[in-house]
């Protein structure tokens, strides 16, 4: 409301004093407090006063001296817009007054027409209105000013229209859009929102609008400018509601905060730097180019900011020693835009390396792209050095502990073990690598020892540097105890240790040894003195006996005192001493125990072989050797003998032949027993005779050879020899002086050679003496059982060998010479030994057979079978018989029957094969024959050969066909005479001829009428076949019988038929003859007469006509007869001359003869003989056929069209075909098909149709094995297909 208490200052522009007075009066009447009323009469005066004076209200008369009408108002209004103007006007000027109001006047008053009341009201309203207007104007101006001045883009959003007014030029300035004070659709704003922000912004906006309690909205988002860039904006809006509290508009402004945002980023960055400012900070591009560094960096690196910026990190601060892994780690992280953290060895400007811990962070721009990295580095060189020192110390310390052979543990005052070295764990029985520290504890110490340990620890703990040793038992996981020696050391003052250290080691062995020693001292004496083997101790230096046991005294025969006065050399034979000394030397050096076999000498001087074991001992402080001996004299002797025997046997075995073997064996035995001469005799199988097999004698004594030479060359009869008694034969026989034995036949030689003693030992095999060994000596020796025993031992072994060798020799002979194939093959199928027969029968060399698997020679079809048999053998079957085929060297196939036996231990088998090729062939032949006979359709009967002895033969065999044909079962006839079958043997003459023929070994064939078992007549064809054996004697007779009853019947019928036919044929021939000659002769005469009669001379015209008809008839008759005859000729002649005839040629000939007719018919031709240009046929026939067909087609051509002929030939398998097609009038095939080729068949009523042409064609074709076919359709045409038989079938295309 206007405060009218304020006094008004009023300007009245009125040049009419009356009106002025009136106005002033009325003004006072209104009671409006007026300060003053000023009056001017001219506009110019008004303007002047208004320049220096403020008024609250102006009354303006529109008709003034210097102005009038609307101009007066405009003039004034232009300078005083803020003062309300009321226009005073006369009645007639009211229209001007209204114009003034339109132009800005507040109101108007018509002079004389208003009173004080109206005036007051008008004044009030005018002032008030003006004030409002003025306020409004001011606020508008201010608003515009704000809009103009602000950097914001102001907008006014009308909800109802859903459009936005973009106020002022804000949007243009900020975003570049050409919209100023323009209404745009809301949608446009929406579209300019950054896609990432859109949803969020709109949502918030909507929420805000609907929120009645808070009308303001504010948001930050990205907004697209005209160039498509997004700018950060802060948008604030205020919602306006209508009276019903519905939101109607929103007014707001967008502020571009992009710069601020960036600044913020920068600020953030800087603040980050500020935080870390004590550390070096680098901002570098992704490539490492430094863009910014902080002061700390320059201090650390000694590079100035200037030097740093633009340099590359990797070039400037990476040291050569920087480890490559870290660098590649860094590069990789940077490559992937990831942050990194690492410890990096870097280089300062002065070249000094320093450790830097680096944290890197990518800096992301508004588009999320990483261009730069921000890195903070901390100098950790000192930290690193300290760490390394610690680590090194620790490492050294650890190494010391771990490498120590002793176990080490750390223990606290309470005896708690809290660290233990791995050696320690091992000693205490824990897994070395296992984290078993926690399991170690003093609770595992033996209960007897634990108190002491606890005390020791307590004691050590009480004093720094205190050291104590102790021993205790520690329980192992298996429950046993180990002796441990521990040294406790209080090292609590040591900074790196700060604990009580326990060094300990395993002393179990030592402890046990100590215990054992006590025991062994006691045992030793027992063992030594009571040992059953001789034992002594001697001084290592002097070799004097120091002690000796009872067994030694007993064995050597010296008393204890004697022993103790001797050295060990005294119990050796002289020759052993050097060896002994050598052995002793070795003993001294090695100091160990040794076993040797040595020769010793007892008190009596007897040499005994001793196995000596010697070892170094301490004997009451002296270095001594203790010796234990064992008498091995006997053992050695036995061993030697066994060796000799084995050696001798080996010699025998190894030798190729028995004699060499025996000689070698003799040498071994003879030398061993030391006799001069030895020999071996071998008996025959009857044991009645002996022959000398081998001898051996002392080397360098050729005279002994005489002994062998003089031995009886022939068989020595045992009973008449020195071995005349059974006892001598079967037992060893010893003679002290052979020369005294009268039965010895070589006494003169033995005397000469000075041989005396001799003995012989029989070599027995399975109880029988098979051989005898004998030795002769120059000495006279008493019977020595040990020598005999030795030789007997040899003989026992020899027997089998000799027998084997002997048998082998025989077997070998047998083997080699056998006619059967004998061979030894290994289980892998290769023959190792084969006999001669193998080579001869198979025709391969021995080398060929024994160098490959025998299956290679086996016939392929028998391989599987043979291998199966082999498998059986190798799997333990004892013997296997089978037959198979081999392919021999010259490619023949031979059958063998095999028997094979394996000897599994040696993995070989013995194979014996017999060539059964012949038997096989015969068998096969027989089987074939039997098969043929059994399955023959001919009856076969076999009888013995009694017929030739003029006796009744006996039927031995009949086959199935026999039963089928005759009805007789085998049991009806076998064993009976063939006479019972009747017929055959009834005619004596026939029988004689039969016997004679058969005796000449020729077959005899005869047809005989007989009877079946059921009495039916049976015509048989018999073939008799004589069978003779190898020597040519007839043994059997085979009857082959064939049932020919049916044939016989057929033959009879046929004969009858042929008779009839022949008769008919003859008749026909007769008829044809009559026709050909008897009919034709008069006819030709008639023809001649007709030819000769001069018709011109016939005056009577009737006669002339009659004669003409007669002539015609004669010609017709002649023609008919000729046609018929030609048919007869064709029929009659079977062997018509054939030749190879070209179709083309024949056609041309035929065409030439009908060329006139063809022209008349306007005929066209299409001929193709390319497929079969030539046919084997009769030329005349072919000509006739072609001509017939041609004339036919001309005759029967269609009157409606020109004749068109298509002619071709084709080449089929058995025929050459001629296709002859026309387009003539055709024939009704349904009606005529059976008659087309018949005689005198006419299908067209044409004057010259005789119905003979096709019949002739048909006959001609048939006569040469061909045939003719026709296809036709009335009005379309006819095709004749003539098939010419091919006589030469060899060629075919």
């Amino acid at each position: 409301m206007i405060d009218f208490n304020t006094k008004l200052k009023i300007l009245v522009v009125e040049d009419n004093p009356g009106d002025l007075l009136l106005l002033e009066e009325l003004l006072f009447e209104t009671n409006i407090s007026i300060q003053e009323i000023k009056n001017v009469t001219l506009i110019s005066e008004a303007k002047n006063i208004l320049n220096s004076y403020d008024f609250d209200l102006i009354f303006l008369d529109l008709s003034l001296a210097d102005s009038s009408g609307l101009d007066s108002f405009k003039d004034l209004y232009s300078i005083t817009e803020k003062v309300p103007i009321i226009v005073l006007t006369g009645l007639k000027d009211s229209s001007i007054a209204i114009s003034a109001i339109v132009n800005g006047a507040q109101d108007f008053l018509v002079k004389g027409e208003f009173d004080a009341k109206l005036l007051a009201k008008t004044m009030q309203y005018s002032i008030e209105r003006k004030k409002n207007l003025e306020n409004l104007r001011e606020s508008n101006a201010r608003y515009d000013l704000v809009v103009e001045a602000t950097h914001e883009a102001v907008w006014d959003w009308n909800f109802a229209q859903d459009d936005l007014l973009w106020v002022g030029k804000g949007f243009n300035k900020i975003f570049g859009y050409e919209y100023a004070n323009t209404v745009i659709p809301f949608q446009f704003w929406e579209e300019c929102l950054h896609p990432e922000d859109k949803v969020r912004v709109i949502e918030k906006l909507q929420t805000s609008i609907l929120n009645l309690s808070n009308h303001s909205w504010e948001d930050e988002y990205r907004f697209r400018d005209i160039n498509g860039n997004y700018l950060y904006v802060l948008d604030r809006g205020y919602t306006l509601f209508d009276s019903e509290n519905n939101p109607v508009r929103m007014i707001g402004a967008m502020q571009n905060i992009t710069a601020k945002k960036l600044a913020e980023e920068e600020l953030k960055k800087l603040s980050l730097i500020a935080k870390e400012t004590v550390n070096a900070v680098i901002i570098a591009s992704k490539k490492g180019e430094i863009q910014w560094v902080n002061e700390a960096f320059t201090k650390l690196s000694q590079f100035t900011v200037k030097e740093s910026i633009g340099s590359f990190v990797q070039e400037m601060i990476f040291s050569e020693d920087t480890d490559k892994e870290t660098i590649s780690y860094l590069l990789e992280k940077v490559e992937k835009d990831l942050s990194f953290e690492c410890v990096l060895l870097t280089r300062a400007k002065d070249g000094q390396n320093f450790w830097m811990k680096v944290l890197g962070q990518p800096i992301v721009d508004e588009k999320g792209k990483v261009l730069r990295y921000f890195a903070i580095g901390t100098d950790i060189t000192r930290q690193k050095e300290a760490e390394e020192t610690i680590i090194n110390n620790e490492r050294r310390y650890r190494a010391l502990i771990e490498k120590s052979a002793d176990g080490i543990f750390l223990v606290n005052k309470d005896g708690q073990i809290y660290d233990i070295s791995s050696t320690g764990k091992e000693i205490l029985g824990y897994e070395k690598d296992q984290d078993s520290t926690s399991k170690v504890g003093i609770e595992w110490i033996h209960p007897d020892d634990i108190e002491e340990i606890k005390n020791v620890i307590k004691e050590v703990a009480s004093q720094i540097k205190a050291v104590r040793h102790t021993e205790c038992r520690y329980r192992m996981p298996d429950g046993s105890y180990k002796w441990i020696e521990v040294t406790f050391n209080n090292l609590t003052h040591e900074p790196f240790i700060q604990a009580i250290v326990g060094n300990f080691r395993d002393i179990t062995t030592r402890k046990k040894a100590e215990e054992l020693q006590k025991k062994s001292e006691e045992n030793y004496r027992q063992i030594f003195y009571n040992n059953p083997y001789p034992m002594w101790v001697f001084d290592q230096e002097t070799r004097a006996f120091l002690d000796v046991n009872a067994a030694a005294i007993d064995k050597y025969g010296f008393s204890r005192e004697e022993f103790l006065s001797m050295t060990i050399l005294d119990i050796r034979p002289e020759e052993e001493i050097p060896k002994l000394l050598e052995v002793l030397d070795v003993h001294y050096q090695s100091g160990g125990a040794r076993k040797e076999v040595m020769k010793h000498r007892d008190k009596s001087g007897k040499i005994i072989l001793m196995e000596v074991t010697t070892y170094l001992i301490d004997f009451n402080g002296r270095k001594a050797m203790q010796t234990q001996v064992n008498d091995v004299t006997e053992i050695v002797k036995i061993q030697n003998e066994r060796e000799i025997i084995l050696n001798a046997i080996d010699k025998l075995r190894m030798s190729e032949n028995l004699i060499d073997g025996l000689t070698a064996m003799l040498l071994c035995a003879r030398e061993y027993i030391g006799w001069e001469y030895g020999e071996i005799w071998i008996s025959d199988y009857t044991n009645e005779y002996f022959t000398l097999a081998a001898c051996d004698y002392l080397q360098g004594e050729p005279g002994f050879q005489e002994m062998a030479d003089r031995a009886p060359k022939v068989k020595q009869q045992t009973n008449k020899s020195i071995f005349d008694t059974k006892e001598k034969q079967e037992q060893a026989y010893w003679v002290e002086d052979i020369n005294k034995d009268p039965l010895f036949q070589r006494g003169d030689i033995t005397a000469k050679l000075g041989l005396y003693s001799a003995f012989s030992v029989p070599i027995r095999y399975q109880g029988k003496p098979i051989s005898r060994i004998a030795f002769f000596s120059r000495k006279i020796l008493k019977k020595d059982p040990s020598t005999i025993n030795f030789i007997e031992n040899i003989c026992m072994q020899l027997a089998a060998e000799i027998e084997k060798k002997n048998t082998e020799r025989v077997l070998n002979l047998f083997f080699k010479q056998s006619n059967d194939l004998l061979g030894l093959a290994t289980f892998d199928g290769v023959f190792r030994r084969i006999n001669n027969a193998f080579v001869e029968v198979l025709g391969y060399t021995e080398e060929q057979i024994t160098s490959q698997h025998f299956i290679n020679f086996v016939h392929p079809n028998d391989v599987t079978k043979t291998m199966e048999k082999m498998d059986e053998l190798t799997q333990g079957k004892l013997i296997s018989y089978f037959e198979n085929r081999f392919i021999t060297g010259n490619g023949d196939i031979k059958w063998f029957s095999w028997s094979c036996t394996p000897t599994v231990y040696e993995n070989i088998f013995f194979a014996s094969g017999r060539d059964i090729t012949r038997q096989k062939k015969e068998e096969e032949q027989l089987r074939l024959w039997e098969f043929v006979i059994t399955n023959s359709n001919d009856a076969v009967m076999i009888t013995d050969a009694s017929l030739f002895l003029s006796q009744e033969p006996e039927i031995l065999y009949v086959n199935e066909a026999f039963t089928e044909i005759t009805g007789y079962l085998p049991e009806d006839v076998i064993g009976k005479s063939p006479l019972i079958l009747g017929g055959i043997h009834s005619d004596q003459n026939e029988l004689n001829t039969l016997i004679e023929t058969l005796q000449n070994r020729k077959n005899y064939e005869i047809e005989v009428l007989g009877h079946k078992k059921n009495g039916e007549e049976l015509w048989s064809d018999f073939t008799f076949v004589p069978i003779s054996d190898n020597t040519g004697i007839l043994t059997h007779l085979i009857y082959i019988q064939r049932d020919i009853t049916a044939r016989k019947k057929n033959e009879a019928e046929k004969e009858l038929l042929i008779k009839e036919l022949t008769q008919n044929n003859t008749d026909l021939k007769q008829f044809s003859f009559i026709t050909s000659h008897n009919l034709r002769s008069p006819l030709s005469n008639l023809m001649g007469i007709v030819d000769l009669i001069d018709t011109d001379s016939l005056e009577n015209s009737t006669n002339a006509l009659l004669f003409e008809k007669f002539k015609e008839s004669t010609f017709q008759l002649n023609e008919t007869i000729n046609d018929l005859l030609s048919v007869l000729i064709i029929k009659d002649k079977v062997n018509i001359v054939k030749g190879f005839i070209g179709f083309e040629n024949e056609f041309q000939k035929a065409l030439a003869s009908v060329s006139f007719m063809m022209k008349q018919a306007n005929a066209s031709l299409q001929i193709d003989f390319s497929e079969a240009p030539v046919v084997e046929f009769n030329r005349a026939y072919l000509e006739s056929i072609i001509l017939n067909l041609l004339t036919n087609s001309i005759k029967y051509r269609s009157p409606d069209r020109n004749l068109a002929l298509k002619i071709k030939t084709t080449n089929e398998r058995d025929f050459i075909k001629l296709y002859f097609s026309d387009n003539g009038i055709g024939m009704d095939m349904e009606r005529y098909k059976d008659r087309i080729f018949g005689l005198y068949q006419r299908f067209h009523d044409l004057p010259d149709s005789k119905g003979l042409g096709l019949y002739i064609v048909h006959s001609q074709v048939n006569a040469l094995g061909g045939h003719i076919a026709v296809e036709s359709e009335v009005g379309v045409g006819t095709t004749f297909i003539i098939s010419f038989k091919k006589f030469l079938k060899s060629k075919r295309h």
Binding site: R1080, M1087, K1133, A1180
Partner: protein, 143 residues
């Protein structure tokens, strides 16, 4: 024109007809006919006798020979004639005149050099005209 021809033919009517035709168509001046091969051979032996006597009578230069005849047929005649007379009458030729249509007869006839023509009965003007042109006979018919 030929002076004289021999016609060997058993059929009377044929003989008459042939004589008529030969004369009518100026083929020969004289026709001598024999009733069969035997008669014909006799005729030639007369000729030969006469020739040996030095008589003038020439043998006919052409024989019309039927094949089917009693006593001695055409083939028998030919063989005998060739054996006995051919060399004495070198100018004489034979024309077979037969009612046969047996192709074997045709081929058999062609084997005889002396046979110059094979004529199917009847003997007509056309046949005779053709015969005149035969190279062995044309000499008697100068134009």
């Amino acid at each position: 024109m030929i002076e004289k021809v021999l016609l060997v033919e058993d059929d009377n009517i044929t003989i008459t007809l042939c004589e008529l035709a030969i004369k009518k168509f100026d083929f020969a001046k004289e026709v001598h006919s024999s009733r069969n091969g035997k008669e014909a051979l006799d005729y030639f032996s007369d000729c030969l006798k006469r020739k040996k006597k030095g008589e003038e009578s020439e043998a006919p230069p052409l024989i019309f020979l039927d094949l089917n005849m009693p006593v001695l047929n055409g083939w028998d005649f030919l063989d005998e004639y060739l054996k006995k007379f051919a060399k004495d009458f070198p100018k004489t030729r034979v024309a077979i005149l037969s009612s046969t249509i047996d192709p074997n007869d045709f081929s058999r006839a062609s084997k005889y050099d002396i046979v110059v023509e094979f004529i199917s009965k009847p003997l007509t003007m056309r046949v005779l005209t053709e015969l005149k042109k035969n190279s062995s006979i044309s000499q008697y018919f100068p134009e």
